[in-house]
């Protein structure tokens, strides 16, 4: 089937047209997060015909993801597959001509400098504010459009940011909610329809931006509650905050912070541990050593899984690890040093 035929219904939509489709095909999108928001966004944009997708995610697929995370299967959950890699496999089956590059790692400020090319758009599929502020500060500094999205329970929120033209995320939300006050998908649940509503808004703004129709991009914050049936676009008249640490004073605080060595994953009984800078780890060698010291040792091309001291480890190439069944970063660090030891 020709590409023209494949995208014919989209090309027929006059505001996009053939010129817009060609721009989509030439575009690169950086998508951070391949969870509920991220998989819907990736699915929609790859199907829409973008040329290249750079996809980051630090997590692995679990059975409880399948209710709302569209690119994953029971096989991915059983294997504890890295989300970025599993999503890329599914996306390749959807459109093999789209160049999808998977990064099974945390997106940090230094990640931007290591990208294979400059993205035309940044999309938010994350589940935490520290990463969102990194995306916001990078987008404003680099003057790359980006689209924020968040969803919990039945509520969702999204906003397109055109640096230099519209308020940025910090103008709207100068500080993240304190940890104890933040509802998460684990504490408050999440309904798939709110994910679909939020990502529909995000994807629509993405198509406008990538096809060059910046004048059609929504101004303001999209707010939805799919249980109370309230939907709206608010703050359309909001202006940039001159005191904003990102688009006002250009301090970009999120780009100066170092990620902590060990951090509890939002709302989950799991901790992410980062290796010391420069540490090297040989997963095959580690797997051999663990055959006697740990249980359920499984090695895949991307990661090593095992169980020790009632904790399930997932260790990625490079040494980053997720420890499930651990309450505190301190305990996780001790277990990591004991079994992985990439220091």
């Amino acid at each position: 089937m020709s590409r023209d035929e494949r995208f014919s219904r989209q090309i027929r939509f006059a505001p996009l047209g053939r010129a817009g489709q060609e721009r989509l095909a030439a575009s690169t999108v950086l998508l951070v997060g391949a969870g509920a928001l991220g998989t819907h966004l990736a699915d929609t944009l790859v199907r829409a015909g973008i040329g290249r997708l750079l996809l980051f995610d630090r997590d692995v697929v679990e059975e409880s993801n399948l209710q709302r995370q569209v690119l994953f299967t029971e096989a991915h959950a059983r294997a504890g597959a890295a989300k970025a890699v599993a999503a890329a496999e599914s996306l390749h089956a959807i459109d093999s001509r789209c160049r999808v590059e998977a990064f099974a790692e945390e997106f940090v400020p230094a990640s931007f400098g290591q990208l294979p090319c400059r993205p035309d758009l940044i999309l938010d599929g994350t589940d935490n504010f520290p990463t969102r502020y990194v995306l916001n500060d990078l987008a404003v500094r680099e003057r790359i459009p980006w689209v924020y999205g968040g969803a919990v329970g039945a509520e969702g929120m999204a906003m397109a940011i055109l640096p230099g033209h519209t308020p940025c995320l910090r103008c709207l939300i100068p500080k993240a909610p304190p940890t104890g006050e933040q509802a998460t998908c684990e504490t408050a649940g999440i309904l798939a329809p709110v994910v679909q509503m939020v990502t529909a808004f995000q994807s629509a703004q993405a198509l406008k931006i990538l096809s060059g129709r910046h004048e059609d991009v929504a101004r303001g914050v999209f707010v939805v509650d799919v249980w109370k049936d309230s939907y709206g676009l608010y703050l359309g008249a909001a202006t940039r905050d001159p005191a904003c640490a990102s688009c006002g004073s250009a301090e970009f605080p999120a780009l100066r912070e170092q990620p902590p060595e060990a951090v509890k994953l939002c709302g989950r009984n799991a901790v992410q541990v980062l290796p010391d800078p420069g540490a090297r780890i040989d997963l095959e060698l580690l797997a051999r050593h663990l055959r006697t010291a740990a249980a359920e040792v499984e090695l895949s091309p991307y990661l090593l899984r095992f169980v020790a001291e009632n904790c399930r480890f997932t260790v990625f190439r490079g040494g980053r690890a997720l420890l499930f069944g651990v309450d505190t970063p301190e305990r996780a660090r001790v277990l990591y040093d004991r079994y992985v030891g990439a220091r």
Binding site: A151, M157, A176, G236
Partner: protein
Amino acid sequence: MVRITFTENLVRHVACPEIEVEAGTVGEALEQAFRHVPALRGYVLDDQGEVRKHVIVLIDGQGLADRARLGQPLGGARRIHVLQALSGG
């Protein structure tokens, strides 16, 4: 009369049903809500009496001119919506 509604994210922490009040300014309206549910104040305002930095107050769909100045007149506004930044995804 202006109707004040609160995000479900706040309702999870403190019972704050919709309330209809008579008020001239945003601050007066919020004070009446706080009189009904005193615990709500700390979730909406900081210790300086300013709107907390992760809270968004909409007046008929538009934002506060200044988080620190709650004396903003309501005029004929009919609805105040108190939102919180959403993190999940």
